[in-house]
């Protein structure tokens, strides 16, 4: 039994409705408030159960089988293994400063920072692994046998190497880490292969990178020309200053407008390249959202949150998932008989580390 995907519109389809989601999100919000936040692990699980079950891949819905208790246990573990030691270390280093041992305190603080840095990388990895291992399609799940400890090291050195040449290596480190992460993952019997390239990303990155410089240069040039024209007569001078002030305001505003736009344009290209480099056996993937789609999506999200005085925030998981699935595309074919069960281990705890650091998944 083979499924040829080439004739279909898209292999991924989302059938959810925000009204149905609201019936999950509002009770979730209430329960989360009255439990001082503890219910949020079960809330997240319910939302994912809904979103996954409304997502069709080819001819079957996805299933989310993660449990609230897994996320809760993960959170408690992160608190005990990281939160408490951090508090103790902070107390100790404060005591050391009191005793005048500022250098030792500095060393301890630096070690603490490095440990957190490492764990952030591990957390990214494990979040992806957890999500794949809890996602079923036709009774088959994904996962990874790699605990992500190596990835934590790669995350550290590749990030640093990306920052060193005045942040010009960031696209390389982002793509390279994406490939590292996905190459360790599998679905059913098949390993993912991630071969995204970073070079095509540089142009977009430079655009984002240069925006502050261009704005600054523009402001300087404009300021000089204004000063020059203002110097000719007193009457012109005052209007010159006024116009200069207006342009200074515009420059500041555009820093807040152009910079996020350039960042979105970069991210859209990054995500397109990253997903485009992904393969699973005979399947290839594609992400079709382009920069204008991302910008509209982002603006709509802002409008929803602002117009609802923040309540709209609870719809963001729905909006994000819908945007993701609506633009996902897969080509190739799947041999259903060969798609056997994954033999990867299933970690018992959820995204505890990730939750503690509050980073996104994909």
């Amino acid at each position: 039994m083979n499924d040829d995907l080439s004739h279909r519109h898209s292999a991924f389809r989302f059938y959810g409705s925000w009204l149905e989601f609201a019936r999950i999100a509002f009770p979730n919000l209430l329960l989360t408030i009255v439990t001082l936040g503890i219910y949020r692990f079960w809330a997240t699980t319910r939302e994912r159960e809904y979103l996954w079950s409304k997502t069709e891949f080819i001819d079957e819905r996805l299933e989310w089988t993660g449990k609230g208790i897994e996320l809760f246990v993960g959170f408690v573990m992160a608190f005990l293994l990281i939160g408490l030691p951090l508090i103790v270390i902070q107390l100790i280093s404060q005591g050391l400063i009191f005793r005048g041992e500022a250098i030792l305190a500095g060393v301890i603080t630096l070690m603490m920072f490095l440990l957190l840095f490492y764990l952030t990388g591990v957390a990214y990895f494990r979040a992806l692994r957890y999500r794949l291992s809890r996602t079923y399609w036709r009774g088959i799940r994904g996962g990874s046998d790699d605990p992500g400890l190596q990835y934590g090291l790669a995350y550290m050195w590749k990030s640093v190497v990306g920052w060193l040449p005045i942040f010009l290596g960031v696209p390389w480190s982002m793509i390279s880490l994406w490939n590292d992460r996905w190459n360790a993952m599998s679905f059913g019997p098949h390993r993912f292969s991630a071969t995204a390239e970073w070079k095509p990303l540089m142009k977009r990155y430079l655009l984002f990178y240069l925006v502050p410089f261009l704005l600054f240069m523009g402001a300087v040039v404009f300021g000089i020309s204004m000063a020059a024209s203002g110097g000719t007569s007193d009457a012109l001078g005052s209007t010159g200053i006024a116009i200069g002030a207006i342009f200074a305001i515009i420059a500041v505003l555009s820093l807040y407008i152009f910079l996020p736009l350039a960042a979105l344009a970069y991210y859209s290209k990054y995500f397109r390249l990253a997903v485009g480099g992904l393969r699973l056996h005979n399947l290839e993937f594609d992400f079709r959202a382009r920069a204008p789609d991302w910008i509209l999506f982002f603006l709509a999200n802002m409008a929803i949150v602002i117009c609802t005085l923040g309540i709209g925030y609870i719809f963001m998981p729905y909006r994000n998932w819908k945007f993701f699935i609506d633009h996902m595309e897969a080509y190739g074919e799947i041999n259903i008989d060969d798609l056997t069960q994954s033999e990867t281990v299933v970690a018992k705890h959820g995204e505890g580390l990730l939750d503690a650091f509050d980073v996104g998944a994909i």
């Binding site: 439990t35 079950s53 008989d337």
Partner: protein, 362 residues
């Protein structure tokens, strides 16, 4: 006894979708395909997985990916054997949404109340040795910043003895730090900063501040605050970063106000017992509150900001000390002029004490 119902089945070994009939035999069942029979499976091993569009999805304990999907009306003899649907998660489904919300609210309120109120009677239960060890760990010799001269020490000792009945379990020191501040720390440690002593116009002022800090020690405020902070960190740990920290700060702030008022009351009582006029302390607060009002008008005395940040200041504190003056009472100065000079110049005389500071602490 046997009965047949149509259903979809994944065996979890590969991704083939199987149309099956469910054959019930007592507490077990078989799944019948045209040429194959799967089972027997025990109903006691069946778990509810999720709701997938129009179907309820069931799994089987210890059979990864095994799925039985039932859609449409399920006959009563089958549904009686199947586990209940899960909606919100265990407890909430058992209690019902409304009851669970009320129960959670009450439990949360109780948890917060315990965390806020229990430190008041928990703190005195903590052995003095723990208190002392904590204080030593935090302060040590304060990086060699404590000042000491024979005459200065004697003056300080006299001052402490006049203000407290058990001066032996207090360790009061003057630190060579040019800041108008004083702190109470665990283990009966009180540190007066030299800046505060130097700017005081009379020993009575120092006596009032010292008695205030001794009040913090005697009321176990430091240990209370520490316990309360730890408790709040645990209870509010479930709430997302910012809002949790905000609630935490507001709650601890209201308690720190209460502690300040208690320490002030203790100070007035101690001054009364020692026959020291509270007018000095009142004028100290008066000077501070004037700084408060015109802090930005170019006064060079920035040190005063230190005391204000840790001790929220108001005119009412000055008024309270003024009101505690008993007319006609025969007040005497806290120290003789000679003793006062010794105390004031102690840090200037002690050339071994290190100066400066590298922290801000209250």
């Amino acid at each position: 006894m046997s009965a047949f119902f149509d259903a979809w089945h994944y065996d979890g070994k590969n991704a083939v979708r199987r149309k099956v009939e469910v054959q019930i035999i007592g507490r077990q069942f078989f799944l019948l395909e045209t040429e194959q029979r799967h089972g027997p499976f025990a109903f006691s091993d069946v778990e509810y997985v999720t709701r997938k569009d129009d179907a309820d999805v069931y799994g089987l304990k210890a059979a990864d990916g095994w799925r039985l999907m039932l859609s449409g009306p399920v006959p009563s003899d089958l549904s009686a054997m199947l586990p209940a649907r899960r909606n919100y998660g265990g407890w909430v489904d058992r209690l019902g949404f409304g009851k669970a919300a009320v129960a959670f609210t009450l439990a949360s309120a109780a948890a917060v109340a315990i965390v806020l109120l229990s430190p008041q009677w928990l703190a005195p239960l903590i052995p003095d040795s723990v208190d002392e060890k904590l204080g030593d760990a935090l302060v040590g010799d304060f990086g060699g910043r404590f000042c000491s001269t024979p005459a200065g020490d004697a003056a300080l000792k006299k001052l402490v003895a006049s203000l407290d009945a058990n001066p032996d379990d207090l360790q009061v020191e003057v630190a060579k730090i040019d800041m108008v501040n004083a702190v109470a720390l665990p283990g009966g440690k009180v540190i007066l900063f030299d800046g505060l002593v130097k700017q005081a116009r009379s020993p009575d002022e120092v006596a009032g501040v010292l008695a205030h800090e001794i009040g913090h020690v005697r009321e176990k405020h430091v240990m209370q605050a520490l316990l309360r902070q730890m408790g709040l960190a645990v209870v509010l740990g479930g709430i997302d970063g910012n809002s949790g920290a905000l609630v935490n700060n507001m709650l601890s702030m209201s308690y720190s106000r209460e502690s300040e008022a208690e320490a002030d009351a203790h100070s007035m009582k101690a001054l009364g017992g020692a026959n020291i006029s509270p007018i000095g302390t009142a004028s100290f607060f008066d000077r501070l509150s004037k700084m408060d009002g015109s802090a930005n008008s170019g006064t060079s005395d920035n040190d005063i900001a230190g005391y204000m940040s840790s001790h929220p200041l108001s005119r009412s504190r000055k008024d309270a000390f003024e009101k505690s003056i008993v007319k006609g009472k025969n007040y005497k100065p806290a120290l003789t002029p000679a003793e006062w000079t010794e105390l004031k110049t102690m840090c200037t005389q002690d050339r071994n004490a290190k100066s400066g500071f590298g922290f801000d602490f209250n």
